[in-house]
Symmetry: C2
Amino acid sequence: MATLKDIARALDLSITQVSRALNDHSDVNEETRLRVKATARAMNYHPNASARKLVSGRSGMVGLVVPQYRNIGQDRIFMEVVAGLSTQFSGRGMQFVLHMMAEQENALPVYQKLIGTAMLDGFVLIDPMERDPRIDFLRKAGVSFVVHGRSGKVIDYPYFDIENEQLAYDLTAHLIQRGHRRIAFLNGIADRSYVTVREQGYIRALRDGGAEVLPHLHLHGVMDEAHGLTDTIRLFSGDAPCPTAIVCGNVRLARGVYQGLEALGLSVPGDVSVVAHDDELPALRASAFFPSLTVTKSPLRDSWEPLADCLAGAIEGKPLGTLQRLGSYSFIERNSVANL
Amino acid sequence: MATLKDIARALDLSITQVSRALNDHSDVNEETRLRVKATARAMNYHPNASARKLVSGRSGMVGLVVPQYRNIGQDRIFMEVVAGLSTQFSGRGMQFVLHMMAEQENALPVYQKLIGTAMLDGFVLIDPMERDPRIDFLRKAGVSFVVHGRSGKVIDYPYFDIENEQLAYDLTAHLIQRGHRRIAFLNGIADRSYVTVREQGYIRALRDGGAEVLPHLHLHGVMDEAHGLTDTIRLFSGDAPCPTAIVCGNVRLARGVYQGLEALGLSVPGDVSVVAHDDELPALRASAFFPSLTVTKSPLRDSWEPLADCLAGAIEGKPLGTLQRLGSYSFIERNSVANL
DNA sequence: CGGTTTTCCCGAAACGTTTCGGAAAACATA
DNA sequence: TATGTTTTCCGAAACGTTTCGGGAAAACCG
């Protein structure tokens, strides 16, 4: 492998000047810079990431740490995350790598070790918990990171998030405006922070609309078809008054809900109205539902670029203000809601 | 982060001796070694991978490079690979990282760059082509690697593979022995090396059994349910004589074949016999088919350990002989084959 | 023409580790 | 006592890069 020394020797320059030329420093002659870059390309030079990291603290590698879990093979969304972030960081000349933890392994020691060996410049955190220990840990360790979502009261770290509170409010308020009063909410796994935040929006909308908050209508779980189906059947099988509308945390849940309602002999939107939030996962189009599904839409794939932006910025030491970004969503009314 | 210097100062030793103690070299007093290791643990020391790599050429990181493709989210098998290899290398104190290439990106420059930056000690190669340029490239570059499968005539590299030729022979021969003569083979994507090798086993079995080789009965494609279904319908819809039995490259294909045969009003095994090779992917049990499926079985998950063994060995410079391993498979007869 | 600035360059140090070549001390051998 | 041998240790060099502090030459200014 060609090194700076090789290039320097070939051009009769100092190693210093070659390095400065390649890194576009100011005090190098334009003509020299071009000559250096040309020979570097010709000699197929790639800077040794270890050497660079050792002295400058930058290796150009960032990582994502994820737990391994039983049905990871089935998880469609996960590969989207990896593919999206890979592409984004590649485009910035950085390397994105995935590190998978053992199933019940504690995350903190894993980060500890990765930080200790000092190979990575920063981390992307996904699925933050309500009070996520990883955030405190990385902050204390002084490592750059960006969170997909937000967690905790004091938010003094880079993040990209969408307005989950308002989005849940909008979906619920839309149903209230159409005359619904008993509105169920199929939410995600309880300790995720976005789940808590969406719950707040749901409750605020109910209060604002003068509707009663009925705890048995608010359900938590993995947001897939199976849970949509079983939760729907559960909602309509007890003694408690049944909902007239259902808010779904994502479109997979909604698909399960449609199946469940069909199994129960209930029609959408005649008997029950359904709305959902749409992450626009591939092969899952809310517009192709029958009847087509009313949603708030904010494509998950729109988040990779801001996330990469924020992390790259954090590594370069940009001020916090520029590293906190909120994505937008749109409300798309279709045919899954009826007036009551 | 604690460094060797910190430990050396704390114990009033030289950096050299601390390093040697931690790496279990011979010329360090047993008592010193213990003291060093204890304080290292206490100070939460992790060797800086960059510094280590720079001088010794080892960072303890190995990687897998995969192309990104459209339906990667649907690919159940892929996450199994990542999870399995991650676990294996973690257990050896090594880091396994995944690097995803852009969709149509050429693999060689990606390896070129990864080798140039010199962060990784070696690579795992999966899905080798019949003559795979990556193998030549990595060999020329002098980097350690291990191949899941084999490719080319001269096999002078570490690999783990199963006897794909014999396995296809066994499946086909089993059908021939039961009296079948027109046997279809739903194989994988044409340029994969295991696909070619399985074809050879299939043809050898046909020849040995005195059955004619009918090209229209040998189909190639992605090995999923959809192709199993469409290929089955294609096999039974032309003018050419229909097969009485089908060999499937994996169990997903077989599932599609079952669906296709049902759609055509044909029964298994009454009208058509079906056999397959079973990688034992999760949530896809050949024994739960109706009728239960006769297979050759060799669980994919059994390959991660030998693969990791071989790569770790190659990095340590072990001789080639010990780095070439063949996995076994078993023949499991069930209820999907009838005598003719 | 003396002084100041600008332009372009370089040597040397530093990052944290491994490893080479010794070297002091303790011990055994002749 | 002199001579090897083993045990245990250490200084210094090296890996390839970035960066600090300076410095020579040219250009500019009054």
